[in-house]
Structure formats: C-alpha cells, structure tokens
C-alpha cells in the first residue's frame, strides 16, 4: 500500500511542477520507494548525484549548509534570566581597553580558524544567511565583524540575495558603527529591547536604560536599514497587563519589520532561577502569562504583523530567513563558543567554556574539520520535524511527511493529532494554507513560501499564490484526496479532510499549549518504534 502511494506521489510531484523541469520520474520514484525504510547513506549519495529536485527535497538536511550562525559571546554583564554561553567583559574604559580588545581579537581568531577548518572538512555554501548572535554582538568592533565576514566569504562564498543579521543591544552602537556594519553587508538588525519600562529593564538586569532603547530606535530609523527586528520579553517579574500593553504599543509604534516576543523561561543556574519560581509572585501566574501571550498575538496581528512562529511576528516578506532554516530542519553551520551546528545530519554543540572551546578548535584543525559524532537517526529526524514545523504558522506538510517517513509513522502521527483537531488546538490547512473545508476563509496565516525552499509543491504553490488564476488547483485537490485514500486505506483518520496538506497549531490557543501537544505527539510516535 505504502509503495503504491509513494509511486503516486512521485508521479504527482513530477506532473504538478510546472515551474520545475529538472525532475526525472525514474529517479524520483526510486527514492520515494525507498522511504518506506530509512534511507541508507549509500542511497542518499547515489540519489543526490542525480540532482533531482525531489532528491534535494528529501535530502535537504543532508545537503551542504547554506546558512551560518556565528556566536559572539561578549556582554557588558549577564542578565538575570540568561543561561547562554556569554563572557561578561564590563564597560570598555581606558583602563580595560587593552584587555577588552585583545580578548575579542583572540576570540575572533579562534572563530576564523574554526571557519577555515570547517570549510576543509565539510565544504558548502554559498551562504544565503548569516546570523551573528550572542552575547551582545554589537560590542564587537565592526572591523572584527568584517574579518569574520571576509573569512566566511573566502571559505564558503556568499550568495547575492543573502541575509546577514546581527543582534544589537541598545546603548552599544551609534549611527557611525551601524553604518559601518551596513557597509560590510549587514542588512538585518535585531534589537534586544526586552521592555519599554525602566523598572522592568532594571528588574531583569539589562545593561541599558529606556532612553538607550529610544535612542537605538532613532539610530536605526535614520540609517538606510530596511529590515530590523525588535525583541520583547513577556512575563517578566512584576509585569502587569497595562505595562505589557504599553510595551506592545511602543513596539508597534517603533514600526520594525519584525518583532520577537519571548516568554520568560526560568532556567536553572540563573539569578532568576535562584530567586523565583515559575507561576509564583512576582512572576505572573499561568493564567496571566497566557493572557499576555494572547494579547501580544492579537495586538501585533492587528498591527500588521503575521504571527509566523510561536514567538515571532513579521510584516509580509520580512520573516527571518535564517531562523526559518532551523525550523524547516535544514542544515546550518555554526561557529564559536557553545554554538550548535547541524551539518551532515549531525547536531553538534561546541564547548561552552572558552578554554575548552579553544582546545576544541585546536583538535578540530588537526582533524581537518571533522567531528567524531553520530548522525541523527531517522527517529530523531521525525521528532525534529514534528517539533520544529509545528512551531510555524505554516505548520507541518503532511504529504511531505508521509513521503519521507512512510505509512506507519504517518498513521501514528495522525492518531496523536486526533484529539487536538477535535479540541481545536490543531488546524488543518489545504494546499493554499487556508483552513480546510472553508474556501471562503481568507484569514491569513502568515504563510510565505518565498524563502530557502526548493520544494516542488511549495514552488508550485508560490506561483499559485502570486497568480491565483494562472493554474487551476482542482486536479491537484482531487489528487491529494485520492493519495490520502491510497495511503491510509481503512486507517484514514476521520478528521482528515480530503484536501488537507498542512497541519498547524491554532493561534493563540494551540501555540500556547505547544509543549503539551508536541509531547503528546512524541508519545504517540513512540508506539511506532
């Protein structure tokens, strides 16, 4: 049964790809057939050489990365909630300057050595996205950032349409340093505002003032930067509904193209972890912080932002391409202290302590850029796919899921979904990203198909979206329905409407309970093993 379906899907993907002429039906079907069983490395190697787009699609996590994350761990001080690998260096004063500069210089040297070694061991690129995260990357003198960019370019190459993001904290940059960064190619800035209230900023140990926040927004507005993001933290201690509404209003007022709203997580080993217990005063209770989340979702969507991921909002066309790489389970390089890369299906985390990291780079160079680390199993990839794609408004592409992981996995997944579809926490979307069975509904789900993707159906859909009249979707819808019938047979879940392609968590209720739902699905999947 599964094989029949696989063949059908294969032929479908060939026929229904008006913009894709590269696929050859023979190679596609052979690959899809083999997805009943986990793909072996051999199969992968041989099929990727066929350069079929379906193959690329299936093997996307195994293709060479075209994204890179660079961790710049320096901070003036550690915020009370932070459990990231950071290096607190204090303020840069005349006295501290030599130490300050040499520390950063040495670190950038290490990172550049890691980049070069990586390029030898796992060549890839050209890079479509680069993300400088931290820490406070804006503490790094622009010329050092330039050095890293140069190093990335010479080792991997940069594509012309690339996105280069950097996290910046208010009070750590000015007009001159920003424009220097823009000159080097930075085209997206993420500003760590966290709150528009002086007291709350103090309460969470931020190194900047509220004035720094407004100054930073002003600096960005006067720059040539088109794409910038503003970060807020919800559910900070002492937060009230009024204060939260104020922060949201000010955020929208600042009119960034992108807003991230993170719910405060109390981590062990942080100051907050020592002081506070989740859900207890001064932290908001569960009901209140749920309400903060709903308010943010409503307010920001009203402000013209799509809620495209659990914690992320963007104006149309301004989603963060780099972060979408993570959520689509695509490969990425990572460099620097404590960073995690996903290359050749290996999720590898670097040491979080500077000394250990330096030692790692030494060994890494000796090993010619290879790490001795096991590849993710297919089970892990299934869980990754579920966990990551359900965080997106776009949701999980169930057809692709069935293609990749086969019938029994899909049946188990759908069994797990049942109760959440019934409770309304999970929604089914058709190929247009609209609610299934409701063609009149033009509610936006913030779905943008225009990034990173090389998937046939997606590309097909993009063309459909941009020009709805161009292609009649009727034959495809019929096809989808008959494919489900073929796949499930007797096990066809009652909730699965014929034209279902995507499943997503509802906004805000489904997103709010994403852990509960995803862990339930994990538990449903464990039956398959």
């Amino acid at each position: 049964m599964g094989n029949v379906f696989a063949l059908r899907l294969a032929s479908l993907s060939t026929r229904c790809s008006p913009c894709q002429n590269r696929s050859t039906s023979t190679s596609t079907s052979s690959i899809i057939n083999s997805t009943q069983a986990p793909l072996s490395t051999q199969e992968i190697a041989s099929s990727s050489s066929s350069s079929s787009s379906a193959a690329l699609n299936l093997l996307s996590s195994f293709s060479p990365p075209s994204s890179a994350y660079v961790h710049l761990p320096f901070c003036r001080r550690r915020c009370f909630y932070c459990d990231f690998p950071v290096v607190a260096v204090g303020e840069r004063s005349e006295a501290s300057k030599p130490y300050y500069d040499s520390t950063m210089l040495n670190y950038v040297d290490l990172v550049c050595r890691e980049i070069s070694a990586t390029a030898r061991g796992s060549p890839g690129g050209p890079l479509n996205t680069i993300f400088f995260g931290g820490g406070t990357p804006s503490l790094l003198p622009p010329y050092l950032l330039h050095r890293i960019l140069d190093c990335l370019q010479s080792n991997f190459g940069l594509s012309s349409q690339m996105e280069i993001s950097i996290e910046m904290d208010p009070g750590t940059f000015n007009g001159a340093s920003l424009s220097e960064l823009i000159d080097y190619g930075v085209n997206r800035v993420s500003v760590g505002v966290q709150s528009f209230n002086e007291k709350l900023l103090k309460a969470c140990g931020r190194a900047h003032s509220l004035k720094d926040v407004y100054d930073a927004i002003e600096i960005i507005h006067s720059s040539s930067l088109d794409h910038w993001s503003l970060d807020l933290i919800a559910s900070l201690p002492f937060l009230t509904p009024d204060l939260w509404m104020h922060s949201l209003t000010e955020a929208v007022e600042a009119s960034p193209t992108h807003i991230s709203v993170y719910d405060l997580q109390i981590e062990e080993g942080t100051k907050f972890g020592k002081w506070y217990a989740s859900g207890q005063h001064p932290l908001p209770c569960e009901d209140d912080s749920a309400e903060f989340y709903r308010t943010a979702s409503r307010k920001l969507r009203e402000g013209g932002y799509d809620h495209y991921e659990v914690s992320n909002y963007a104006k149309t066309g301004y989603q963060c391409k780099h972060n979408l790489v993570y959520w689509r389970n695509l490969p990425y390089y990572a460099f620097g202290l404590g960073s995690t890369s996903y290359v050749e299906r290996r999720r590898f985390s670097r040491p979080r302590k500077m000394k250990a990291y330096a030692a790692f780079v030494d060994d890494f160079e000796k090993a010619e850029g290879k790490v001795d680390f096991p590849e993710d199993s297919i089970e892990e990839r299934i869980l990754d796919t579920i966990m990551l794609s359900l965080r997106l408004a776009q949701g999980l592409n169930l057809r692709e899921f069935a293609q990749l992981y086969g019938r029994s996995v899909t049946v188990a997944f759908c069994r797990g979904l049942q109760q959440f579809v019934e409770s309304g926490h999970v929604k089914l979307l058709d190929i247009d990203g609209k609610d299934v069975g409701n063609h009149e509904c033009h509610e936006r789900h913030g779905i943008q198909w225009d990034v990173v993707e090389r998937r046939e159906e997606t590309i097909y859909m993009r063309s459909f979206q941009t020009d709805p009249e161009a292609i009649s979707c009727k034959p495809l819808r019929t096809k989808i329905a008959s494919d489900w019938q073929a796949l499930f047979g007797q096990d066809l879940p009652s909730f699965l409407k014929p034209d279902t392609v995507f499943v997503r968590l509802s906004d805000p209720e489904g997103f709010l309970l994403s852990n509960e739902i995803i862990s339930s699905l994990f538990s449903a999947m464990s039956i398959v093993k």
């Binding site: 912080s289 990425y332 990572a334 960073s339 999720r347 985390s349 990754d384 966990m387 852990n515 538990s523």
Partner: protein
C-alpha cells in the same frame, strides 16, 4: 585476657573500662585487649550492663549492673562451654547420623513478632554447629530478601541439628521455624502439627503480647509441651521475673523452670538445648506401622518438580519407595529423600519422628498438597492423618500491571507464588481504567503487601493495587445471597435487600496509658466495645468487635503509632452482620473510575468522598480542558472538585542551539505521559491512583 565489649557506644567506653578494672581478676596476667563491636541494632541506651568478658584460658560472664536474678543462673562456665562448643561443631557435621526415635526432638519456636525468634534460631544453629560460623548471617532461616529486610519470617523453615547433651547422648533436634505475624498463623498451625514441643519466646522487657497468646493457644491445641523462654534479658529494661508472673497469670503456664536468655549475646542457649532434650517428649516409636507422613509445606522446583516437606508420623520412608498421596490418590516413585539442615541433605531413609523432604518429579502442587498424608502404595495406611483446614482469604484487592503487556507475566508470577503460598487466591479481573488484572485474596494486609512486593521484586512487575476490600454478603430482594468482594460487582441498590459484612473480634494488649487512644481508634472504626481487663497493674487487654473492612485499612499502623509501638493485637473472624453500606463511585470528567470505587458505611461516605476528590485534584495535572471530579452514591453527587484547564505550556525559543535540549525536555514530557492511564479523555498519572488507593486504605 581478651575483653569483648558488645555494642558499646563510644561515649560509654570510658565507664565500661572503668567497671572492667574493678572486675579484673588478678589471676590473669595477660594484657587486656579491648575489642569493640558496634552494632546498629543494639539499643543505644544499653550501657555497661552487658559487658561480656571472655578469657583465653577460661573465664566467666560478668554482668556489671542491673543484673537480673535469672541471669545469674544463666551464667555458665565458659571453659566447659568452649569445650562443648568445639564438641558441638564436630557433632554438627554428623547430623545425618541416625539416632533412636527416643532421642529425636521436634520443636518449633513461637513468639510475638520481634521477640527475637529468628535470632534465637540463628544461635541454636550456630551453637550446635549446624551452620559454620563463616556461613552464618543474621536471620539464617529467613532466606527471602524480603524477610531479611523487614526482619520478619514469612515462610516456615526447618532445620535438623545434632546436639550432644550433658548426659553424653547425641540427640537429633528438628527445629521448625514459623512466622510470627498474625496473617501467617496458618503457617504456624501447620508447623505445630509436626512437633511435640515448642519454645515460647517472650521479650523480657515487653512481656506477653497479643500474638504470644494466639500462638500459645495454637500450641496447646496441638498438645505441645511448651517451654517458656525469656529473651533479651541483657536489655536494661528487662524484667524477667515480672514477665514470668505475667505469663503465669495471663497464659496460665508454669514458669518455674522458665529459661532466661539473651539470644543476641548467646546467653542461656545451652540451657535451652538441654531443656528441649529433657522436656520435649520424643515422638512415638511407630516405626513398625504402615507409613504415614504429614506434608506441612511444599514448593515447586523447576528442575525436580514439587518438593514436599513432611514429618514421618509412622513407619519408614526409603529412597526409591513407591508412595501414594492419600488425598489426591496419585502414586509417585521417590527420587530423593533427605533432611533439612537447613539446606537439603539427601539421606537413604527416614524413620517415624523424623522431619525431611522428598522429591518425586511431581508435576503439580495439587498432587502433593500441604496437609496430605504420604503412604506406601503397596502397603497403604488405612486412615490418613488429619490434615489442615484450608486457609481462607480475608482481604481482597485487584492487582493490575502498569504496563498492559505484563498481564501474562503477572499471571505466571501469581501461579508460581501460589505454588509456595497456598493461601494466595486469584482470579482474572477486567477494569475499564486499569485493563486486565487479577482479583486476589490474602490472609491479611501484611500478606497482601508481601505478595505485592514479591511480585514486583522477584518477578520484576510494576503493579497497581486497588483498595483492599473484604467479602460482602449481599441479600437480594428474592432473599438469595451473593458474595461480593469487588465494589464494581455489587448488585444495584434496587436489586439488593441488605448488605452484610464480616466482623472480627479484636483483642488489643496495651500499657494502660494508651487505653484512651486505642478506644478512640476502635470507636472511629465502628468498633463495639466488649470488654476490658487488666492483665497486670500496668497492662490491659481491650476487646472490641468491629467490621473487618475497618481493620484491613491502616488499623494496625494506627494501633502502633497511637501507642508508640507498645500495643499489640490479634483478631479472629466472628461472622457476618448487617450494615448500612453504600457504594461510593469516583467520576473523573463524567466517567466512573471503577478501581477507585469503594464500599463504605453511609456515615463515612461524605468524608471519604471529600478526601478522595481533593486528593485527585492535587494529583491530576491540568489538561486541555476543565475536568470535574465527583464522588457519588448512585446518581447523587456528594463531593466535587474541578481541575481548571491548562493555560499555557510553551517553549519561548527554539533556535539552532536550543533544538537538542528542547527536544530532550519534550521527550521527557512525553515519557511522563506513558505513565498515565486514560480515563476517558483524561490522563491520570499512575501516582494519583496509588495515592488515592492509599488514602482509601486510610479513610475507608
């Protein structure tokens, strides 16, 4: 001189040395070496009163202070003890040697729990050389881990010893060790039937306890010669004389020749052995009669089939004999016979009066039941020996595997346990919330706990136990009667006329200070006061009649905790009485959770219902929707709570570096769901069931 200080806390070391200096015998010229043994089990308040000195060339036992008069008599000449010990150890190796029937002594030890029965048995084995010192461990005869851990005896055990008495004759002593707990009195009665005498061990500081009495009466019923032994005379609180008086008054046993001993310190052991030789009658010499042997225990050995433990009453049994089991009528050829010493040691023949085991490739325990009589198939005895009354379960509960896949394993395990534990009864049961399991009957709560623990430990099963219940007798409207031990099988209120429940007469013994708390406890448990009498000036016996259902809960724990452990109890079933009982159901999200149903007295239903719903509210995690929890009698809700819906459970960030860690968290969360049982749409953690069942045990 070698000085051995037993269990001296370091703080009392100095006074001990000081006192020893007074006692130092100038005749000893050797330097003094002090060896200290620290023993956690030894009471801390035991100071210098129990310093025992052993000298290399001969010495004596010093009891420095608080010397009870009996202890003086117990003082022995250590030189001859040493010699005798050596002699005994030599003899121990010869314990397979035959002695005439007139020199066989079969005895058991009866005692209240914790009065030192197993320690005394250990010492007897040691002193007679039955067990090498290097093989010796505490509670030697209790070979189940569980027995050692809890310090109790569950299964009876037998051990043959050889002892050369003062008269120079070698005797064969068969000790049949028995459990002390009231739940296992069934086992006690079995072993007593195989003996001619019993040591009645009484703690010299605690005196007569409820089970002392119960066991004495059992022994008297079997016409056994009873030798009173006052144990633990080394304790500072020991009052052997007062306890002697108590035994004489309460039990009516002559204590003029009672033996004072300390099994722990090895004082008076030889006196006990001598007393056994002198006082316990030899078995009747009926070697010439046709074979009759009484099976008092059996177990299943996967390699040799059923192994039966028996006492030869008449005749001779030889290896290779063809024997018949008189009740089952089955005939087998004996592959192996032997004695228990305490390990199985094969011999060629066993005479009347001897205790031993046989293996005959018996496939089914039913063929060689405990209580059956073994005879020769060719020359059968005319009449079987009187057997035992079959044990009737008093307490029932459901046992369900946590993991439904373990059902078959649970069945196998129960079957295997039943081979060695005839009192265990079980039948399959199905429950909507718990799946497939078994309804099991036990002799009492301890028995239930022990079985459950053995299943979990020895068979690696993970179990849920439902609230224990008793067998109710329901009179239906047509005057017919049905028995019901499972709340879910209780006939509808419309169909039943009345419910009768089993009552027990309970006899509690307590220091007079705790009479009040015990009366309160009995009142709370619907007890009817019957009688109170003072055994001695300070101790009283309280008699109540109360429903067995009230006792199967935590009654015993409560009795102990309310009297600081001083009270003891004994109970016996006295029949059924009509009661105003109702079935209390628990509904979670509108679904009745059968395993949590209970049959309770109407007056208690409200408080039980409230306690149950509150506990469940605490233990069931918030879920996607609001969950009402109700306790009902029929359709009437008598208590209710609600768990509000889960509001938020979201991970804020999930970027490249977070994926592995967040996945781990979610996997852990998923793992937690596996330990949940679905009740309708509600996921109820296993712990919640357990906690509620425990609560039911307490309050029902």
């Amino acid at each position: 001189m070698v000085v051995v200080g037993m269990a001296l806390p370091s703080t009392s070391l100095r006074p001990a040395l000081h006192e020893l200096a007074h006692f130092r015998n100038p005749a000893f010229s050797l330097p003094c070496v002090l060896l200290l043994q620290t023993d956690r089990n030894f009471p801390r308040h035991c100071h210098t009163s129990s310093v025992v000195c052993l000298a290399g060339t001969g010495s004596s036992t010093f009891r420095c202070r608080g010397l009870p008069p009996g202890a003086v008599e117990a003082k022995e000449d250590l030189e001859s003890v040493d010699n005798r010990k050596e002699h005994a150890i030599k003899n121990g190796a010869d314990r397979l040697q035959k002695v005439p029937v007139s020199r066989i002594r079969n005895f058991s030890i009866i005692a209240h729990i914790d009065h030192g029965k197993s320690t005394l048995a250990d010492k007897l084995l040691q002193v007679t050389g039955t067990v090498d010192i290097r093989d010796m461990k505490e509670q030697f005869l209790d070979n189940m881990d569980l027995e050692r851990e809890r310090g109790i005896t569950i299964k009876l055990q037998a051990a043959r010893m050889r002892y050369v008495s003062k008269d120079g004759q070698a005797y064969c002593l068969n000790l049949i060790d028995t459990p002390g707990h009231v739940d296992f009195s069934y086992e006690v009665s079995r072993s007593l039937a195989a003996c001619e005498g019993a040591l009645l061990v009484v703690d010299a500081s605690q005196g007569v306890e409820a089970q002392t009495l119960a066991n004495v009466y059992l022994a008297l019923e079997n016409n056994l010669e009873i030798i009173p032994v006052l144990n633990k005379i080394d304790l500072p609180g020991a009052e052997p004389e007062r306890v002697c008086k108590e035994i004489e008054e309460v039990v009516g046993l002559d204590c003029s020749n009672a033996i004072f001993c300390s099994a722990k310190e090895g004082v008076g052991i030889h006196n006990i052995l001598e007393a056994i030789v002198q006082m316990v009658p030899a078995p009747k010499n009926t070697t010439q009669d046709p074979l009759r042997a009484l099976i008092f225990d059996s177990y299943y050995d996967p390699y040799r089939g059923v192994i039966a433990y028996f006492r030869v009453v008449d005749g001779i049994l030889k290896q290779g004999d063809s024997v018949q089991f008189m009740a089952s009528g089955k005939v087998y050829e004996v592959d192996e016979i032997g004695v228990l010493s305490p390990a199985q040691m094969p011999v060629n023949e066993l005479f009347a009066g001897e205790v031993g085991y046989l293996a005959a490739s018996i496939r089914s325990v039913a063929d060689a039941r405990v209580g059956d009589t073994i005879t020769h198939s060719a020359k059968a005895a005319r009449k079987a020996l009187p057997g035992y009354q079959e044990a009737t379960p008093m307490v029932f509960c459901g046992l369900f595997p946590v993991d439904a896949d373990q059902f078959a394993e649970l069945r196998d395990a129960l079957e295997k346990l039943q081979l060695n534990d005839a009192a265990l009864k079980f039948e399959p049961e199905t429950s909507s919330a718990m799946g497939f399991g078994f309804r099991c009957g036990f002799l009492g709560l301890l028995h239930m706990e022990i079985v459950q623990e053995r299943l979990e430990r020895e068979y690696n099963l993970n179990l849920i136990t439902t609230a224990p219940s008793v067998v109710y007798r329901v009179i239906l409207v047509d005057n017919s009667m049905v028995e019901c031990s499972n709340p879910s099988e209780l006939p509808d209120p419309g169909g039943r006329k009345e419910i009768n429940e089993p009552y027990v007469k309970i006899d509690m013994m307590t220091p007079k200070d705790y009479i009040g708390p015990l009366m309160e406890l009995a009142q709370e448990r619907r007890g009817e006061f019957k009688e109170m009498k003072y055994i001695t000036e300070n101790r009283a016996s309280l008699v109540y009649e109360l429903p067995l259902a009230e006792m199967v809960g935590d009654f015993f724990d409560q009795l102990k905790s309310r009297t600081k452990g001083y009270a003891s109890m004994e109970y016996s079933l006295i029949g059924y009485r009509k009661s105003d009982l109702v079935k209390l159901d628990v509904m979670i999200n509108g679904e009745c959770v059968e395993p949590l149903s209970a049959i309770v007295h109407r007056e208690k239903a409200y408080s039980v219902g409230r306690a149950l719903t509150q506990k469940l509210k605490e233990l069931i995690p918030r879920q996607l929707f609001k969950i009402p929890i109700q306790a009902c009698i029929g359709a009437k809700v008598i208590a209710s709570e609600a768990i509000s819906a889960m509001r938020k459970d979201v991970l804020a960030k999930c970027y490249g570096g977070d994926i592995t860690r967040k996945k781990k968290l979610l996997k852990k969360q998923a793992e937690g769901k596996k330990r949940m049982k679905s009740v309708g749409r509600v996921e109820v953690p296993q712990d919640a069931f357990m906690a509620v069942l425990k609560l039911e045990k307490q309050v029902v």
